[in-house]
Symmetry: C2
Subunit: 321 residues, 2 copies
């Protein structure tokens, strides 16, 4: 049995694990904050340190290589991260720097692609031929897995589903466009919408969760208050469900997938989110496409990106997962 080190580089955290080639186990999962502000050399050193720490937890296992998932845009062929607003990298040869330091072969792919590929291999979308997924966190990433392979498009940019316009004259997104799904339903956007309502006088217990400091309201605080039956927090979650539902309906009308998988912190809201989300999709999308599609939370919270990065290595190196 061979093992692959999967590395998930995020704007906030780096997560690393060592994955068996048959998917039977994910061992030595370790994580640390990315500390982007320390610059790319420090981040690469931390990635390498974590990879070594993960492998040290599985002594005697044969490690065949390393799969890396990183925010993009990036070039999967050359292994170079072209430009990441979140990490501040430009033309960073991440794959070869990590491979060189570890003395192992490596591959590089987009972090959201890896997460959805992981969900296809071992998670919520296991074995489905037509899978589209969203990773809802600081931003909204997307991944498209068709016929058991990540769909990359002409130049590795495909899958930017979070930057689908759902309201052409709507909120300004960090990408410069107006009305992107991400501008409404990412973690920070959910928090911003909640705070806007409070500032406008909404009757809610939300401020009590953050000692009255509205700048500390995060999406997770909103889910917590919703869980405690705060009516306004529930309304914010339901509104999020409607907005995500418009995006998922678009995905269903365009891709006619068997599974839409939603990963990331937003799944913490559970049925409070998924029940109205599925209703909204039913209202918006074509019935025969809705009927064949399951809308599911990711089944590998925290490790989908690690598992998927390892699967990318396997597929690109051995031609199969």
């Amino acid at each position: 049995m061979r093992y692959i080190v999967g590395i998930d580089v995020g704007g906030t955290n780096i997560v690393v694990g060592t994955v068996a080639e048959d998917g039977s186990e994910v061992l030595g999962v370790v994580a640390e904050p990315t500390f982007v502000e320390q610059g790319p050399d420090a981040v690469v050193a931390r990635i390498v340190k974590l990879a070594r720490a993960s492998m040290a937890q599985v002594p005697g296992k044969q490690v065949a290589g390393v799969g890396i998932g990183s925010p993009g845009p990036l070039d999967t062929k050359s292994g170079v991260v072209l430009l990441t607003p979140n990490l501040g990298w430009v033309n960073m040869p991440l794959r070869d720097r990590v491979a060189g330091a570890l003395g192992l072969a490596a591959t590089l792919d987009n972090d959201a692609n890896c997460a959805i590929f992981g969900e296809w291999w071992l998670g919520a979308a296991r074995g489905s031929d037509h899978v589209v997924g969203l990773t809802v966190g600081t931003g909204i990433g997307g991944g498209i897995v068709l016929g058991g392979a990540i769909y990359h498009g002409a130049s590795d940019i495909a899958g930017e589903i979070g930057h689908m316009t759902i309201d052409s004259t709507g909120r300004l997104c960090k990408c410069g466009n107006y009305g992107c799904l991400e501008a409404y339903a990412s973690g920070p956007a959910i928090a911003a919408r909640a705070v806007e309502g409070i500032t406008a006088g909404a009757d809610t217990t939300l401020p009590q969760y953050v000692g009255g400091d509205l700048s500390k309201i995060t999406a997770q605080v909103v889910y917590e208050a919703a869980h405690d039956d705060d009516a306004y927090a529930l309304e914010v979650v339901r509104e999020t469900a409607k907005l995500l539902g418009a995006g998922v309906a678009n995905i269903i009308n365009i891709f006619n997938p068997q599974v839409v998988v939603i990963c990331g912190g937003v799944t913490l809201a559970g049925d409070t989110l998924f029940v109205p989300l599925r209703s909204e999709v039913k209202r918006r999308a074509f019935k025969p496409a809705v009927d064949v599609c399951r809308i599911l939370p990711g089944a590998l919270p925290g490790t989908a990106g690690v598992v998927g990065a390892a699967a990318v290595f396997m597929q690109r190196t051995w031609g199969k997962v």
Copy 2:
């Protein structure tokens, strides 16, 4: 050299042609109104009559089969049109009825899929690996051609790009959803937007094109007035360009294609449409994806559907185009 009869069944017209397997010629192109109101038997009889008329114009050619494109949703495997609001058909075994009457093998696919497949085979998107297209007419259809094959999704519904929400609280669409691209930028929607402005007091020569009868304003009348430099008609076309631009930007962020091809009557507006459309896409979509993508009008006006339906027959029957 073998020939294939390509049949494009529309809500308004049926177009038929006989296509050489090497794509070198499209012969015997004939067309008639569909006359949907006469019922399915009459429409099938007219399709068969037109197919015979087309073949009669190419005596001595070996006709290998028939490719049919029809509005959907439909089942490509069984050759059955499941339900077409425009044609009023339910569970109509169109493929086998036409095949039986002509004594030839036949295939069935969605009309917009066929049009974009035709543009991929012999038209504006020739030879590109990642192609997404729109057919803008009475409705807005879509087709996705990846790696030289139509992308059908899990149950032949994929590609309903016209029913992508671009304004989640926007105009009601015939499909029941709010804010679909089709509700803004189909031919009838363009005409409706123009008339709304006139009713609201817009200063325009448009009524003069239709003898003062606003109900006679069509999208084509708007393009004609725009061509004659009517400022209001130009504004309606530019607004259409912005709306289509939002849709095309979504396509580019999601699919990262080499070509987006736009077919149908709307291309009559020419640069008046395409110049602001391309600007809008640049403003909205990711630069590295925009940089690799050409946005082109269809190169086979009137016959893309016929050519593509024939190509579907070839691919499904012989495994190649």
